[in-house]
């Protein structure tokens, strides 16, 4: 995250267009980092290698793999799972173990080929992991800034809702 990006995100979050509970949630997420607790070091390294291929991101900016580890450690679920898969933590472990042993050192294109194969062989767990990474990615203030998402600045409401009817703060924010 460049210094400009960070400044613009912080300025937007500080503005009166953001409600206090919204600001608190997004500020906490902006710099969230998690200590690995659930996975082994080897598993976690592999998870991270998979994660950057599935949802391209810089782990130094967005700790998407840490977020998954953290959730599993807290034993939280998203409310359901496919009946033919084991509980989330175990399912993810098995998914990672199904990759070739040298996955981390493969070239990116070769990694992607093994991931396509993984998606075919374990469609349900693959889908769950992809969705969880995507959620962490899209919910992050940095992604939202880069995609020009301004929906959190809603305290004054949005009097204009038709196509191309933008408020100044929507035009100004993001790339």
């Amino acid at each position: 995250m460049s210094a400009t990006e960070r400044d613009e995100i912080l300025a937007a979050l500080a503005s009166p267009a953001v409600t206090a509970p919204t600001r608190a949630a997004l500020l906490a997420r902006l710099d969230a980092r998690y200590e690995r607790q659930h996975f082994t070091e080897a598993e976690f390294d592999r998870l991270r290698a998979v994660a950057v291929r599935l949802v391209p991101h810089d782990p130094a900016e967005l700790d998407l793999s840490g977020l998954i580890d953290h959730r599993l450690q807290l034993r939280q679920t998203d409310g359901w799972r496919f009946a033919d898969t084991p509980p989330d933590g175990q399912a993810y472990r098995e998914l990672l173990a199904a990759l070739p042993t040298n996955f981390e050192i493969l070239a990116p294109e070769a990694q992607d080929a093994t991931l396509h194969d993984l998606q075919r062989r374990h469609p349900h767990t693959f889908e769950d992991l992809l969705a969880e990474l995507t959620e962490g990615f899209m919910a992050h203030p940095l992604t939202q800034y880069r995609f020009g998402y301004a929906g959190f600045m809603d305290a004054p409401g949005w009097p204009q809702v038709g196509p191309n009817e933008l408020e100044a703060r929507e035009i100004r924010y993001g790339k």
Partner: protein, 520 residues
């Protein structure tokens, strides 16, 4: 405080379990009639002003105890379904509130498939009027589908957002009629007994993550506020683990609050925990087992969505997400029943995770697509789902964090649902193509939880009578989506609230008869 609460939970006439569309209007009706009533609600209170405009931070609005999804079309629960909280899933519903049409209740008569309801549209019509007026539903004058209204919608229709305006244009090009949808969010301020002034909707578009202004008619700011103002007690954070049966009657419930196990008794118990938790509690207690119908006939509406990427800057986070409707596909030649079309605004995380699950794309293709979030518009359908032998809920051997067996829900589309989904997808693809969408993709999907304790006249084939009395379990009533004998091709909440008031009136009648009999 604890003692006050305990005192208020003695000598109860009626205990209600769950505070959604089945439990809340009934609770208010009974309290208004002067009865001593209380509700146990597993979730906590979510005050509007404390709600962040953020989907992940609002995950606690949803029922997150793990459910197991089986079958050929396994259903997503969690953020895709049931609620948890004072007000249940109305805290996160889109607030689309169309009425069912008269023929929805008589599917078997019309097609020789599905089942008929043991009641008619005319039985519900006065309750529909009452609920719409009380919630403050916004809607158009001259709605063309269904019987003529006795009274106009209490408030004018809400403004249409980008997706709604594009869908309107596309439908008109194809010759389909559209109207602004009935939506239980206010287009004008309204005074609400027990809550105060609810403001007009400010178009902040986050209805599915909770309305932070009180504009949306979730039950906490409407019927539950009224219920408490009229003397009902609502115990939050209280999850029922089992019903109490003594001397052949259901007389109360055991519940867990924090780490305490408590119990409460009442003359009548109303189970209103939703179409998954209600049959789960019945199966756990071996209750209402006479018909063998508990957990059977699980239904979820055909709910395929089609998304288009547009040149226009649409900002899908703005405006009421439930904006435009067409019921011109209410009957489609070759299908049993039909469906309706609704426009979709969408919040970013919901859109992104749906695309990830439904599109199968990952890597740069995924993030590139998501970077165009501001340009997406959606249409979704809501269509009839027939009851089938192969769709049911059972208890699994796996225990959840509370030590209770997780429910396993089997769901597979039948032939009619598959054909309906294909028909709807083709139509929506054509709509978006008409107005020059750049990229169009479809998310096959099913939504809402229905059935599992169906009502009917015959105790052999149904769990409750047409008012919600459980046939073979004196003292116990059911009032939630689980009693739906067929799915109806509309969003369920308005009909459920109407049914709730109707059940309340029957329940009051029963109690009065009892008291007259014992000379109280």
């Amino acid at each position: 405080m604890a003692n006050d609460l305990r005192a208020s939970l003695t000598d109860l006439d009626v205990l209600v379990i769950g505070t959604r569309a089945g439990g809340a209007p009934l609770l208010a009706r009974l309290a208004s009639a002067g009865l001593r009533v209380a509700a146990l609600e597993a979730g906590v209170r979510h005050k509007p002003a404390e709600m962040p405009t953020d989907e992940v931070a609002q995950a606690s609005l949803f029922w997150m105890d793990e459910r197991l999804s089986a079958g050929k079309d396994p259903l997503a629960f969690g953020r895709n379904n049931s609620g948890r909280g004072v007000g249940g899933s109305t805290l996160h519903y889109t607030a689309y509130t169309p009425r069912a049409q008269p023929d929805d209740f008589q599917l078997f008569q019309e097609f020789g498939e599905g089942v008929d309801w043991p009641l008619e549209y005319a039985d519900l019509a006065p309750y529909y009027d009452e609920v719409e007026a009380f919630l403050g539903v916004s809607g158009p004058a001259d709605y063309p589908w269904g019987p003529p209204r006795n009274q106009p919608y209490p408030h004018p229709a809400l403004p249409l957002n980008g997706a709604a305006l594009l869908m309107e244009r596309a439908c008109h090009e194809l010759g389909l009629r559209t109207f602004p949808a009935a939506n239980a969010a206010l287009s004008r301020p309204q005074q609400q007994e027990g809550y105060g002034l609810r403001p007009a909707c400010s178009n902040r578009g986050f209805c599915q993550a909770g309305c932070s202004t009180g504009a949306k008619a979730s039950l906490d700011v409407t019927y539950l506020a009224l219920a408490e103002a009229r003397g009902a007690v609502i115990v939050s954070g209280a999850q029922v683990t089992n019903l109490i049966r003594e001397g052949g009657r259901v007389v109360g419930a055991h519940y867990r609050q924090g780490d305490q196990m408590l119990s409460v008794r009442a003359e009548r118990v109303v189970l209103a925990a939703g179409a998954i938790e209600t049959p789960r509690l019945l199966l756990l207690g071996g209750l209402a087992s006479g018909s063998g119908q508990v957990g059977r006939n699980f239904m979820a509406h055909v709910g395929v969505q089609v998304w288009g990427l547009m040149d226009d800057d649409l900002r899908p986070y703005k405006g009421i997400p439930g904006g435009l409707i067409s019921e011109d596909t209410h009957r489609v030649p070759g299908l049993v029943g039909g469906y309706l079309l609704q426009s979709l605004g969408v919040m970013p995380v919901t859109y992104a995770t749906q695309y990830a699950r439904g599109g199968g794309a990952w890597g740069a293709a995924l993030t590139e697509h998501l970077s165009h979030y501001n340009h997406v518009a959606g249409i979704n359908v809501l269509g009839e789902c027939l009851p089938y032998e192969h769709n049911f809920l059972e208890l699994s051997n796996e225990l959840d964090g509370r030590g209770l067996p997780k429910p396993r829900i089997h769901f597979s589309f039948g032939d009619n649902e598959r054909r309906m989904s294909a028909h709807a997808e083709a139509l929506m693809r054509e709509l978006w193509a008409r107005i020059g969408a750049r990229e169009v993709w479809a998310l096959p999907r099913a939504a809402h939880t229905l059935g599992t304790a169906r009502m009917g006249h015959d105790p052999v084939s149904s769990v409750t009578d047409p008012f919600g009395r459980v046939h073979d379990e004196p003292g116990l009533w059911i009032c939630d989506n689980s009693t739906f004998p067929s799915s109806l091709s509309v969003n369920p909440s308005l009909t459920q609230m109407a049914l709730s008031l109707r059940t309340a009136d029957a329940l009051i009648g029963d109690l009065v008869t009892d008291w007259v009999r014992v000379g109280a």
